[in-house]
Amino acid sequence: MGSRASSLLREEDIEEIKKQTGFSHSQITRLYSRFHSLDKGENGALSREDFQRIPELAINPLGDRIINAFFPEGEDQVNFRGFMRTLAHFRPVEDNEKNKDPTSGEPLNSRTNKLFFAFQLYDLDRDDKISRDELLQVLRMMVGVNISDEQLGSIADRTIQEADTNGDMCISFSEFTKVMPGKAIDITADLQNGA
């Protein structure tokens, strides 16, 4: 299965993905076989349904948000390259980057990009601000039913107050990064030694 899947991936594609995302060759082929096994339609792209079929995502309160994060705006399919680009956010931060390609700008796994990924999970309308409503939605997803809306509202207010420096009752991305100084490192998943 694995070998068949990886053979579908052309060598130059791998090279390009490697350059773009920083994944190693073996990681790319492994993730490609995973991609392939998720792809029930066998059309080289994943749909939302393909993701939703992963049973564990159904019990992840943020599952649907994360699935959405894989899809570029307005699109219903994600190909392998897009899949890898999203996953690249979760590679460990490389501090003293030997930057292979300085022209490529900031790598996807930089601190800022990691935080921005998390930020966008909150920011549904993409106005670069987390409003109270958006925060409440996420809170509601992550919190058990025992908390009343009123309590949740006060928690949301307090949360915004903590981060909000310019008093617009929204959390902008710069405010978001300011409150989470050392936390970017936490958004690092172990993609290395997979099954």
Binding site: E56, N60, L62, L139, V145, E162, V179
Partner: protein, 837 residues
């Protein structure tokens, strides 16, 4: 400044007036003890009104005086000029204070009457420090780094012992130390006692430096565990020395290694056994709450002594007792007892720590123990320092090959520099048998010098070093909701990404262990009540409600509305009304959503929730005056209790790498239900043509829920009797439902209505999915069955999804729901099938 001078003066006066005569009295008293008849005869001359019976109380009196002096010493050290304390670590200052006190004693007695004797240290001072450290061990952090900690603690310590011992022996053979009566085995014995990093010293120094938490747990965990290891190693080598060089053959060495393993693991398992005992005990101490806190200390100490009795590792025993019992004990005991344990533990540990450092200083002022051998002492210092560095870098290099986030070079430098030796090394050196080791005093003095060097010099330079190297500091520990929230969100994100990447399949046995822990160990060791955590939650609820009310009041008063003070009864009524209306608003939604499935039960549980909520809200407002800061803490607790736990989070709790589905099955069901509901809804609306060209946009969810609402808002409007304009705009919509039926004019109680932003109706709707835990339990959906439902949505585009669902069904064996629920489910399924067809 003034206060510190005052304190120093006070101390000096105290020492001169009180301790000195006492000590002189003590030295004079030895005669009395030797000749007790002398005093008896004196007493018989007449009926004494008051007698001076020093020898009756001598021992406890001296002990308590020293405790008192230690306390004063700590006080004066802490209150000392802040310029000094910012440079000097407290432990170093205490040692110096010990020098002074020891000097006074020595000056009075011409001999050191007071010493830190090994039995005192090992039986009375050390246990509570270890217990404290392990009881407050951040378990998640500890177990997620357990691999690294064990490597450092076991192999690092053996490495240190072996290299220091062998190098010293090599130098001795080369003639660097002159004529000493030490053999290879004795050198190794010395190496093993000097090898261990001391938890007391490490905590004392690192607590003041605030390095990042991974670095801290590595140094701290290592120091805690390697104490156990070094004692075991010491005992093995001690036995070898007693056996004598010629009689050691391969079999004996093998036995030594074997006993090392048995002693270390035996001690750990014994500790776990006592932790189980303690947890079971606290399950049934409901009626003796006053003394239940004491059990923690007694059982902990028992674990220590029993291990000592069985010649297993006592330190490891009490360590694992503390680490393993904390979760269950804290859950089982009353909140007050938990606080008691916390404070008493800190008191004992901090007190012993002070005593230990003070006596390390006092002990030094003694001419008897000092034997100087420049070569031996300096070389020991050098080797201890160098091999610590080499060892740290070596083992970190190996570990980094397997670590996701490698340990940075700077952290390694700090780790190796943080190799502080302390009282355990001294205690072991003092335990040496002079018959077998002729150079015992040299070893003691060398150990003391190493201790002073590391604690004072390295302790002082640690802070500048950390600053200079720009070591990552611990993020400051304000309770920040946003941080907590984001951390939890990150955990969920990571769990999801790992699922997407298909990392499931590893470590199936650790998953099994977690299940086992949830189902059996928690069941066995935790009170049923504590398992549900009901009581605690409710009290937190109650508190938060109180705080909110107080905030409202103070806010109202600040705005000049004194009307509130007039009658609190009216306030209660208002509250009730407001809450009632709120639930009335929620309920129609529930009816709409659930009427298809199970109207009766939902209705029942919602009303019961209303009943539950109101008493906690009707409160005596005037009886409370709390600070606003409490508010944050409460919200923090509330979130901590209620945020869904991600699987990743739990993976760290009990094992190195762990995949659990989730800690709480209820929680899993809840999340699953919500997710599936929203998906089903999007499917439904797509089917019914409400949202024809199911175009996925950034507003995906919002739109769907809007659709859903507009679909039903007729029912909603009827129920809440709101005017026709409400359905249109979200924010006004909420506002109106609030005001209607609430019946309060008091502006104080309607702070939310004035703010422009409101929770979306969408949120109201999710709230309506499962309004209370009780209701949620009765929901006919379990993840199993919903998993069967899932493919229906999917089946619009693929046909094999039922197969998929069945596979996943067999993978996970969930508990069975009641039969009636099942029937209802079947019914629901069949109706749905019809729909689909």
């Amino acid at each position: 400044m003034a206060s510190s001078v005052y304190l120093c003066l006070l101390r000096a006066v105290f020492l001169v007036c009180f301790v000195n005569p006492l000590i002189q009295g003590l030295s004079g008293d030895t005669n009395v003890i030797q000749n007790p008849h002398h005093q008896l005869e004196e007493n018989l001359t007449g009926l004494p009104i008051v007698t001076f019976k020093w020898h009756h109380v001598q021992t406890p009196y001296l002990v308590i005086i020293w405790v008192f002096v230690a306390g004063l010493a700590k006080l004066s050290v802490v209150e000392l000029n802040h310029h000094v304390t910012s440079v000097f670590p407290e432990s170093g200052l205490l040692i110096i204070m010990g020098f002074i006190l020891g000097g006074i004693v020595w000056g009075a007695d011409r001999a050191q009457t007071f010493k830190l004797l090994p039995p005192t240290f090992f039986y009375y001072l050390l246990p509570q420090i270890i217990l404290d450290a392990s009881y407050f061990m951040p378990n998640k952090l500890f177990f997620s780094n357990l691999g690294a900690i064990l490597i450092y603690a076991i192999f690092g310590t053996c490495w240190n012992a072996a290299t220091v011992g062998l190098s010293l022996w090599g130098c001795y053979e080369a003639g660097a130390m002159g004529n000493l009566d030490i053999g290879l085995l004795q050198f190794l014995l010395f190496g093993s006692l000097i090898a261990a990093v001391d938890p007391v010293a490490v905590i004392a120094v690192f607590e003041e430096v605030h390095v990042n938490e991974v670095l801290f747990i590595l140094v701290f965990g290592e120091s805690l565990l390697n104490d156990g290891v070094t004692v075991v190693l010491y005992n093995v080598f001690d036995a070898f020395v007693a056996l004598g060089g010629p009689r050691i053959d391969a079999a004996e060495i093998f036995k030594g290694i074997f006993s090392f393993v048995v002693v270390a693991f035996g001690g750990s398992f014994l500790g776990i056994g006592f932790a189980i005992l303690l947890s079971l005990l606290t399950r049934c101490t409901k009626h003796i709450q006053i003394i239940e806190a004491g059990f923690v200390f007694v059982v902990g100490y028992l674990a220590y002594l029993t291990a000592e009795m069985l010649s297993l590792s006592a330190i490891l025993s009490i360590t694992f007792c503390g680490i393993c019992c904390q979760k269950y004990v804290n859950a089982n005991m009353d909140e007050k007892s938990v606080t008691t344990v916390r404070h008493a533990m800190k008191l004992l540990a901090n007190g012993s720590e002070t005593m230990i450092f003070l006596f390390l200083g006092v002990t030094a002022i003694d001419t008897e123990i000092w034997v100087w051998n420049t070569g031996f002492i300096l070389l020991t210092l050098l080797f201890v320092f160098i091999y610590r560095i080499i060892g740290t870098f070596l083992f970190t290099w190996m570990l980094n090959k397997f670590r996701l986030v490698p340990i940075e070079v700077i952290d390694q430098v700090v780790m190796s520099y943080g190799g502080l030796r302390g009282a355990v090394a001294y205690g072991l050196a003092a335990l040496l048998d002079e018959d077998k080791i002729p150079e015992k005093n040299l070893m003691i003095s060398t150990t003391l010098i190493v201790v002073y060097f590391t604690v004072i010099l390295q302790g002082i330079t640690m802070k500048p070093l950390v600053q200079w190297l720009k070591v990552k500091r611990a993020a400051h520990s304000d309770l920040k909701l946003i941080e907590k929230l984001n951390n939890r969100a990150f955990d969920h994100i990571l769990a999801a990404v790992e699922d997407i990447c298909g990392r499931i399949g590893d470590n199936w046995w650790t998953r099994g262990w977690n299940r086992f822990e949830e189902n059996y160990i928690s069941w066995l060791l935790m009170k049923p009540k504590a398992r549900k955590n009901r009581d605690y939650l409710f009290s937190i609820f109650h508190k938060l409600n109180l705080e909110d009310a107080i905030n409202y009041v103070s806010e109202g008063e600040r705005q000049g509305s004194l009307a509130f003070n007039r009658s609190d009864e009216a306030a209660n009524v208002d509250f009730k009304k407001q809450f009632g209306s709120e639930f009335a608003d929620v309920m129609p939604n529930i009816m709409v959503d659930m009427s298809t499935y199970e109207l009766g039960i939902e209705h029942f549980s919602v009303t019961s929730t209303v009943k539950d909520t109101i008493p906690s809200v009707s409160l005596d407002i005037h009886g409370q005056d709390r600070k606003n800061a409490m508010d944050d803490i409460n919200a923090h607790h509330l979130l901590q209790q209620h945020l869904y736990r991600s699987r990743k989070h739990h993976r760290h709790k009990y094992s190195r790498s762990h995949f659990s589905i989730n800690q709480n099955e209820d929680e899993v069901q809840e999340i699953f239900q919500r997710t599936m509901r929203s998906r089903l809804e999007s499917f439904k609306s797509a089917k019914m043509g409400v949202n024809p060209a199911k175009k996925i946009t950034k507003h995906h969810k919002k739109e769907l829920t809007h659709k859903h609402l507009t679909k039903h808002d007729l029912v909603f409007l009827v129920d809440s009797a709101v005017g026709s304009e409400t359905g249109a705009i979200n924010s006004t919509f909420m506002r109106d439902t609030y005001t209607v039926g609430a019946g309060i004019e008091n502006p104080v109680f309607l702070p939310d209505m004035d703010s422009p932003s409101h929770s979306l109706p969408w949120l109201m709707e999710t709230e309506a999915v499962a309004p209370s835990q009780r209701a949620q339990r009765r929901l006919p959906w379990t993840p199993n069955r919903l998993r069967r439902l899932a493919p229906m949505r999917i089946s619009t585009c693929s046909t094999d999804s039922f197969l998929m669902a069945d596979v996943s069904l067999t993978l996970e064996e969930h508990e069975e729901q009641s039969q009636t629920d099942h029937e209802e489910m079947c019914f629901f399924l069949s109706t749905f099938e019809v729909n689909r067809l």
